[in-house]
Subunit: 189 residues, 2 copies
Protein backbone atom coordinates (compact mmCIF):
# COMPACT_ATOMS: atom_id res chain seq x y z
CA UNK A 1 0.00 0.00 0.00
CA UNK A 2 0.98 3.63 -0.44
CA UNK A 3 2.42 2.46 -3.77
CA UNK A 4 2.46 5.03 -6.52
CA UNK A 5 -0.12 4.47 -9.24
CA UNK A 6 2.48 3.91 -11.92
CA UNK A 7 4.19 1.24 -9.87
CA UNK A 8 0.96 -0.64 -9.29
CA UNK A 9 0.24 -0.38 -13.00
CA UNK A 10 3.65 -1.87 -13.77
CA UNK A 11 2.97 -4.79 -11.48
CA UNK A 12 -0.41 -5.33 -13.11
CA UNK A 13 1.16 -5.29 -16.58
CA UNK A 14 3.76 -7.80 -15.45
CA UNK A 15 1.00 -10.06 -14.18
CA UNK A 16 -0.86 -9.67 -17.48
CA UNK A 17 2.22 -10.69 -19.46
CA UNK A 18 2.89 -13.57 -17.10
CA UNK A 19 -0.66 -14.89 -17.41
CA UNK A 20 -0.47 -14.66 -21.20
CA UNK A 21 2.92 -16.38 -21.27
CA UNK A 22 1.62 -19.12 -18.96
CA UNK A 23 -1.25 -19.66 -21.34
CA UNK A 24 1.04 -19.83 -24.37
CA UNK A 25 3.34 -22.38 -22.74
CA UNK A 26 0.43 -24.44 -21.40
CA UNK A 27 -1.08 -24.85 -24.85
CA UNK A 28 1.78 -24.69 -27.29
CA UNK A 29 4.43 -26.28 -25.18
CA UNK A 30 7.99 -25.39 -24.53
CA UNK A 31 10.06 -26.43 -27.51
CA UNK A 32 12.94 -24.02 -27.25
CA UNK A 33 10.53 -21.23 -28.09
CA UNK A 34 12.39 -17.96 -28.64
CA UNK A 35 11.64 -14.89 -26.55
CA UNK A 36 10.64 -13.05 -29.71
CA UNK A 37 7.95 -15.64 -30.33
CA UNK A 38 6.71 -15.42 -26.75
CA UNK A 39 6.65 -11.63 -26.98
CA UNK A 40 4.68 -11.75 -30.20
CA UNK A 41 2.12 -14.18 -28.83
CA UNK A 42 1.80 -12.17 -25.64
CA UNK A 43 1.29 -8.99 -27.66
CA UNK A 44 4.36 -7.03 -26.62
CA UNK A 45 7.73 -6.25 -28.15
CA UNK A 46 10.85 -8.13 -27.16
CA UNK A 47 12.32 -5.25 -25.11
CA UNK A 48 8.83 -4.70 -23.73
CA UNK A 49 8.99 -8.23 -22.43
CA UNK A 50 12.51 -7.81 -21.09
CA UNK A 51 11.55 -4.67 -19.27
CA UNK A 52 9.66 -6.92 -16.87
CA UNK A 53 11.91 -10.00 -16.86
CA UNK A 54 15.65 -9.72 -16.72
CA UNK A 55 16.36 -12.84 -18.80
CA UNK A 56 14.67 -15.74 -20.49
CA UNK A 57 15.44 -18.00 -17.56
CA UNK A 58 13.90 -15.50 -15.14
CA UNK A 59 10.73 -15.46 -17.22
CA UNK A 60 10.53 -19.26 -17.32
CA UNK A 61 11.04 -19.41 -13.56
CA UNK A 62 8.32 -16.80 -13.03
CA UNK A 63 5.97 -18.88 -15.20
CA UNK A 64 6.44 -21.93 -12.99
CA UNK A 65 5.94 -19.79 -9.90
CA UNK A 66 2.73 -18.38 -11.37
CA UNK A 67 1.58 -21.89 -12.23
CA UNK A 68 1.97 -23.02 -8.62
CA UNK A 69 0.08 -19.94 -7.52
CA UNK A 70 -2.80 -20.54 -9.95
CA UNK A 71 -2.96 -24.26 -9.10
CA UNK A 72 -3.04 -23.41 -5.40
CA UNK A 73 -6.17 -21.36 -6.00
CA UNK A 74 -8.03 -23.55 -8.47
CA UNK A 75 -7.23 -26.82 -6.72
CA UNK A 76 -7.96 -25.89 -3.12
CA UNK A 77 -6.27 -28.19 -0.69
CA UNK A 78 -8.46 -30.46 1.41
CA UNK A 79 -5.77 -30.31 4.06
CA UNK A 80 -4.48 -33.66 2.86
CA UNK A 81 -1.54 -33.02 0.58
CA UNK A 82 -1.43 -36.50 -0.95
CA UNK A 83 -4.94 -35.88 -2.33
CA UNK A 84 -3.76 -32.51 -3.60
CA UNK A 85 -0.72 -34.07 -5.29
CA UNK A 86 -2.96 -36.55 -7.11
CA UNK A 87 -5.32 -33.77 -8.21
CA UNK A 88 -2.38 -31.76 -9.54
CA UNK A 89 -1.15 -34.77 -11.52
CA UNK A 90 -4.60 -35.25 -12.99
CA UNK A 91 -4.64 -31.59 -13.96
CA UNK A 92 -1.17 -31.85 -15.55
CA UNK A 93 -2.61 -33.88 -18.43
CA UNK A 94 -4.11 -30.62 -19.69
CA UNK A 95 -0.86 -28.62 -19.66
CA UNK A 96 1.83 -30.67 -21.43
CA UNK A 97 3.91 -27.59 -22.14
CA UNK A 98 4.20 -26.82 -18.43
CA UNK A 99 5.14 -30.42 -17.66
CA UNK A 100 8.01 -30.20 -20.13
CA UNK A 101 9.04 -26.78 -18.86
CA UNK A 102 9.05 -28.05 -15.28
CA UNK A 103 11.33 -31.00 -16.03
CA UNK A 104 13.67 -28.99 -18.23
CA UNK A 105 14.05 -26.22 -15.68
CA UNK A 106 14.38 -28.67 -12.78
CA UNK A 107 17.38 -30.20 -14.55
CA UNK A 108 18.95 -26.83 -15.29
CA UNK A 109 18.31 -25.60 -11.73
CA UNK A 110 20.97 -27.98 -10.45
CA UNK A 111 23.40 -25.13 -11.09
CA UNK A 112 23.26 -22.89 -7.96
CA UNK A 113 23.74 -19.87 -10.21
CA UNK A 114 20.59 -20.63 -12.24
CA UNK A 115 17.67 -18.27 -11.51
CA UNK A 116 15.38 -21.25 -10.92
CA UNK A 117 17.66 -22.81 -8.31
CA UNK A 118 16.11 -21.09 -5.26
CA UNK A 119 12.62 -21.76 -6.59
CA UNK A 120 13.18 -25.51 -6.79
CA UNK A 121 15.08 -25.71 -3.50
CA UNK A 122 12.28 -23.85 -1.70
CA UNK A 123 9.62 -25.87 -3.49
CA UNK A 124 10.97 -29.23 -2.34
CA UNK A 125 11.69 -27.83 1.11
CA UNK A 126 8.00 -26.92 1.38
CA UNK A 127 6.42 -29.91 -0.35
CA UNK A 128 8.34 -32.77 1.29
CA UNK A 129 7.55 -31.98 4.94
CA UNK A 130 3.93 -31.17 4.08
CA UNK A 131 3.49 -34.50 2.32
CA UNK A 132 5.30 -36.32 5.13
CA UNK A 133 2.81 -34.70 7.53
CA UNK A 134 -0.14 -36.05 5.54
CA UNK A 135 1.37 -39.52 5.61
CA UNK A 136 1.86 -39.29 9.36
CA UNK A 137 -1.77 -38.15 9.73
CA UNK A 138 -2.93 -41.23 7.85
CA UNK A 139 -0.78 -43.44 10.06
CA UNK A 140 -2.29 -41.79 13.14
CA UNK A 141 -5.76 -42.35 11.68
CA UNK A 142 -4.85 -46.01 11.25
CA UNK A 143 -5.33 -46.06 7.46
CA UNK A 144 -1.64 -46.36 6.55
CA UNK A 145 0.98 -48.94 7.46
CA UNK A 146 2.78 -47.98 10.66
CA UNK A 147 6.17 -49.19 9.38
CA UNK A 148 6.37 -46.43 6.75
CA UNK A 149 8.96 -43.71 7.28
CA UNK A 150 6.94 -40.59 6.37
CA UNK A 151 9.99 -38.62 5.19
CA UNK A 152 11.15 -41.50 3.01
CA UNK A 153 7.73 -42.13 1.47
CA UNK A 154 7.23 -38.40 0.85
CA UNK A 155 10.52 -38.29 -1.09
CA UNK A 156 9.49 -41.41 -3.01
CA UNK A 157 6.03 -40.06 -3.91
CA UNK A 158 7.41 -36.72 -5.11
CA UNK A 159 10.13 -38.47 -7.13
CA UNK A 160 7.49 -40.77 -8.61
CA UNK A 161 5.32 -37.76 -9.52
CA UNK A 162 8.29 -36.05 -11.20
CA UNK A 163 9.57 -39.15 -12.97
CA UNK A 164 6.21 -40.39 -14.21
CA UNK A 165 5.83 -37.09 -16.07
CA UNK A 166 8.80 -38.09 -18.24
CA UNK A 167 7.16 -41.40 -19.14
CA UNK A 168 3.82 -39.69 -19.77
CA UNK A 169 5.47 -37.10 -22.02
CA UNK A 170 6.77 -39.95 -24.19
CA UNK A 171 3.62 -42.07 -23.99
CA UNK A 172 0.37 -40.27 -23.26
CA UNK A 173 -1.38 -43.51 -22.34
CA UNK A 174 0.48 -43.53 -19.00
CA UNK A 175 -1.95 -42.73 -16.16
CA UNK A 176 0.11 -40.47 -13.92
CA UNK A 177 -2.42 -39.92 -11.13
CA UNK A 178 -3.62 -43.52 -11.31
CA UNK A 179 -0.13 -44.94 -10.89
CA UNK A 180 0.40 -42.84 -7.77
CA UNK A 181 -2.95 -43.91 -6.32
CA UNK A 182 -2.18 -47.55 -6.99
CA UNK A 183 1.18 -47.27 -5.28
CA UNK A 184 -0.38 -45.67 -2.24
CA UNK A 185 -3.04 -48.38 -2.13
CA UNK A 186 -0.21 -50.83 -1.41
CA UNK A 187 0.62 -48.87 1.74
CA UNK A 188 -2.87 -48.88 3.20
CA UNK A 189 -3.67 -51.29 5.97
Amino acid sequence: MAERGSYAKGVARREEILTAALDVFSREGYRGTSLREVAKQVGVSLPGLMHYFESKEHLLTAILQKRDEVDGESLPSTGDFLDTLIRIMRHNRDVPGLVQLFITLAAAAEDPAHPAHPFFVDRYAAVLPTLAGSIRDRQDAGTARADLDPEHIARVLVALADGIQIQWALDRSVDMAGDIERLWALFEV
Copy 2:
Protein backbone atom coordinates in the same frame (compact mmCIF):
# COMPACT_ATOMS: atom_id res chain seq x y z
CA MET B 1 33.36 -56.73 -42.77
CA ALA B 2 34.70 -55.78 -46.19
CA GLU B 3 34.65 -52.18 -44.92
CA ARG B 4 37.13 -49.85 -46.52
CA GLY B 5 40.01 -48.80 -44.31
CA SER B 6 39.05 -45.15 -44.35
CA TYR B 7 35.52 -45.99 -43.23
CA ALA B 8 36.71 -48.12 -40.34
CA LYS B 9 39.10 -45.35 -39.37
CA GLY B 10 36.24 -42.85 -39.45
CA VAL B 11 34.21 -45.03 -37.12
CA ALA B 12 37.18 -45.36 -34.77
CA ARG B 13 37.68 -41.58 -34.75
CA ARG B 14 34.00 -41.09 -34.02
CA GLU B 15 34.27 -43.47 -31.08
CA GLU B 16 37.36 -41.62 -29.86
CA ILE B 17 35.52 -38.30 -29.95
CA LEU B 18 32.48 -39.82 -28.29
CA THR B 19 34.51 -41.30 -25.46
CA ALA B 20 36.27 -37.97 -24.90
CA ALA B 21 32.95 -36.08 -24.97
CA LEU B 22 31.41 -38.57 -22.54
CA ASP B 23 34.33 -37.97 -20.21
CA VAL B 24 34.00 -34.17 -20.47
CA PHE B 25 30.27 -34.26 -19.69
CA SER B 26 30.69 -36.78 -16.87
CA ARG B 27 33.22 -34.61 -15.06
CA GLU B 28 32.36 -31.06 -15.97
CA GLY B 29 28.65 -31.42 -16.27
CA TYR B 30 26.23 -30.22 -18.83
CA ARG B 31 25.60 -26.53 -18.24
CA GLY B 32 24.67 -25.41 -21.70
CA THR B 33 28.24 -26.15 -22.76
CA SER B 34 28.83 -24.92 -26.30
CA LEU B 35 29.94 -27.21 -29.08
CA ARG B 36 33.05 -25.09 -29.51
CA GLU B 37 34.00 -25.81 -25.91
CA VAL B 38 33.37 -29.54 -26.32
CA ALA B 39 35.41 -29.54 -29.53
CA LYS B 40 38.29 -27.78 -27.81
CA GLN B 41 38.33 -30.19 -24.87
CA VAL B 42 38.08 -33.15 -27.20
CA GLY B 43 40.94 -31.78 -29.29
CA VAL B 44 39.21 -31.13 -32.60
CA SER B 45 37.77 -28.10 -34.37
CA LEU B 46 34.05 -27.35 -34.40
CA PRO B 47 33.55 -28.51 -38.01
CA GLY B 48 35.73 -31.50 -37.20
CA LEU B 49 33.24 -32.40 -34.48
CA MET B 50 30.25 -31.78 -36.71
CA HIS B 51 31.71 -33.98 -39.39
CA TYR B 52 30.81 -36.91 -37.14
CA PHE B 53 27.63 -35.61 -35.52
CA GLU B 54 24.96 -33.87 -37.51
CA SER B 55 23.87 -31.53 -34.74
CA LYS B 56 24.41 -30.79 -31.09
CA GLU B 57 21.33 -32.78 -30.18
CA HIS B 58 22.60 -35.77 -32.14
CA LEU B 59 25.89 -35.61 -30.24
CA LEU B 60 24.13 -35.43 -26.87
CA THR B 61 21.94 -38.38 -27.80
CA ALA B 62 24.99 -40.37 -28.89
CA ILE B 63 26.64 -39.60 -25.55
CA LEU B 64 23.70 -41.08 -23.62
CA GLN B 65 23.72 -44.10 -25.89
CA LYS B 66 27.43 -44.56 -25.30
CA ARG B 67 26.88 -44.21 -21.56
CA ASP B 68 24.34 -47.04 -21.57
CA GLU B 69 26.77 -49.14 -23.57
CA VAL B 70 29.66 -48.48 -21.17
CA ASP B 71 27.47 -49.07 -18.10
CA GLY B 72 26.24 -52.33 -19.60
CA GLU B 73 29.83 -53.55 -19.75
CA SER B 74 31.19 -52.24 -16.45
CA LEU B 75 28.10 -53.14 -14.43
CA PRO B 76 27.42 -56.66 -15.69
CA SER B 77 23.87 -57.76 -15.06
CA THR B 78 23.30 -60.54 -12.55
CA GLY B 79 20.19 -61.45 -14.47
CA ASP B 80 18.12 -59.54 -11.93
CA PHE B 81 17.41 -56.12 -13.36
CA LEU B 82 16.26 -54.53 -10.10
CA ASP B 83 19.73 -55.18 -8.69
CA THR B 84 21.22 -53.70 -11.85
CA LEU B 85 19.03 -50.59 -11.56
CA ILE B 86 20.23 -50.04 -8.01
CA ARG B 87 23.86 -50.48 -9.03
CA ILE B 88 23.40 -47.96 -11.85
CA MET B 89 21.89 -45.43 -9.42
CA ARG B 90 24.82 -45.91 -7.06
CA HIS B 91 27.19 -45.31 -9.97
CA ASN B 92 25.28 -42.18 -11.02
CA ARG B 93 26.64 -40.31 -7.99
CA ASP B 94 29.97 -40.20 -9.79
CA VAL B 95 28.64 -38.68 -13.03
CA PRO B 96 26.48 -35.65 -12.15
CA GLY B 97 26.89 -34.19 -15.61
CA LEU B 98 25.35 -37.25 -17.20
CA VAL B 99 22.47 -37.22 -14.73
CA GLN B 100 21.68 -33.65 -15.71
CA LEU B 101 22.09 -34.42 -19.41
CA PHE B 102 19.75 -37.39 -19.10
CA ILE B 103 16.96 -35.41 -17.47
CA THR B 104 17.33 -32.45 -19.82
CA LEU B 105 17.28 -34.61 -22.92
CA ALA B 106 14.41 -36.76 -21.61
CA ALA B 107 12.30 -33.62 -21.31
CA ALA B 108 13.24 -32.40 -24.78
CA ALA B 109 12.66 -35.85 -26.30
CA GLU B 110 8.93 -35.45 -25.77
CA ASP B 111 8.94 -33.82 -29.21
CA PRO B 112 8.72 -36.70 -31.73
CA ALA B 113 10.98 -34.71 -34.07
CA HIS B 114 13.79 -34.54 -31.51
CA PRO B 115 16.77 -36.80 -32.33
CA ALA B 116 16.63 -38.30 -28.84
CA HIS B 117 12.96 -39.29 -29.15
CA PRO B 118 13.54 -42.79 -30.56
CA PHE B 119 16.33 -43.39 -28.06
CA PHE B 120 14.10 -42.71 -25.07
CA VAL B 121 11.09 -44.55 -26.50
CA ASP B 122 13.23 -47.63 -27.17
CA ARG B 123 14.94 -47.35 -23.82
CA TYR B 124 11.70 -47.43 -21.82
CA ALA B 125 10.29 -50.10 -24.12
CA ALA B 126 13.29 -52.28 -23.23
CA VAL B 127 13.70 -51.42 -19.55
CA LEU B 128 10.09 -51.67 -18.36
CA PRO B 129 9.35 -55.26 -19.46
CA THR B 130 12.78 -56.42 -18.28
CA LEU B 131 12.20 -54.93 -14.83
CA ALA B 132 8.66 -56.30 -14.73
CA GLY B 133 10.14 -59.72 -15.47
CA SER B 134 12.52 -59.45 -12.52
CA ILE B 135 9.62 -58.52 -10.25
CA ARG B 136 7.63 -61.50 -11.52
CA ASP B 137 10.64 -63.75 -10.86
CA ARG B 138 10.76 -62.55 -7.27
CA GLN B 139 7.05 -63.19 -6.86
CA ASP B 140 7.54 -66.70 -8.23
CA ALA B 141 10.42 -67.21 -5.82
CA GLY B 142 8.09 -66.14 -3.01
CA THR B 143 10.19 -63.15 -1.91
CA ALA B 144 7.83 -60.45 -3.19
CA ARG B 145 4.17 -59.71 -2.41
CA ALA B 146 1.88 -61.58 -4.78
CA ASP B 147 -0.58 -58.67 -5.06
CA LEU B 148 1.94 -56.49 -6.92
CA ASP B 149 1.22 -55.80 -10.58
CA PRO B 150 4.71 -56.26 -12.10
CA GLU B 151 4.08 -53.79 -14.96
CA HIS B 152 2.79 -51.14 -12.56
CA ILE B 153 5.64 -51.55 -10.10
CA ALA B 154 8.20 -51.51 -12.93
CA ARG B 155 6.79 -48.18 -14.13
CA VAL B 156 6.85 -46.86 -10.56
CA LEU B 157 10.44 -47.94 -9.89
CA VAL B 158 11.72 -46.43 -13.13
CA ALA B 159 9.81 -43.18 -12.47
CA LEU B 160 11.24 -43.14 -8.95
CA ALA B 161 14.76 -43.65 -10.31
CA ASP B 162 14.30 -40.79 -12.79
CA GLY B 163 12.60 -38.43 -10.35
CA ILE B 164 14.97 -39.00 -7.46
CA GLN B 165 17.80 -37.81 -9.70
CA ILE B 166 16.17 -34.37 -9.77
CA GLN B 167 16.08 -34.23 -5.97
CA TRP B 168 19.66 -35.50 -5.73
CA ALA B 169 20.85 -32.88 -8.24
CA LEU B 170 19.46 -30.18 -5.93
CA ASP B 171 20.55 -31.84 -2.68
CA ARG B 172 23.48 -34.23 -2.88
CA SER B 173 22.64 -35.73 0.51
CA VAL B 174 19.73 -37.65 -1.06
CA ASP B 175 20.57 -41.37 -1.21
CA MET B 176 19.18 -42.39 -4.60
CA ALA B 177 19.99 -46.09 -4.49
CA GLY B 178 19.09 -46.34 -0.81
CA ASP B 179 15.65 -44.82 -1.31
CA ILE B 180 14.88 -47.35 -4.04
CA GLU B 181 16.06 -50.24 -1.88
CA ARG B 182 13.96 -49.04 1.05
CA LEU B 183 10.88 -48.80 -1.16
CA TRP B 184 11.41 -52.31 -2.46
CA ALA B 185 11.85 -53.60 1.08
CA LEU B 186 8.24 -52.61 1.72
CA PHE B 187 7.17 -55.00 -1.05
CA GLU B 188 8.99 -58.04 0.28
CA VAL B 189 6.99 -60.65 2.10
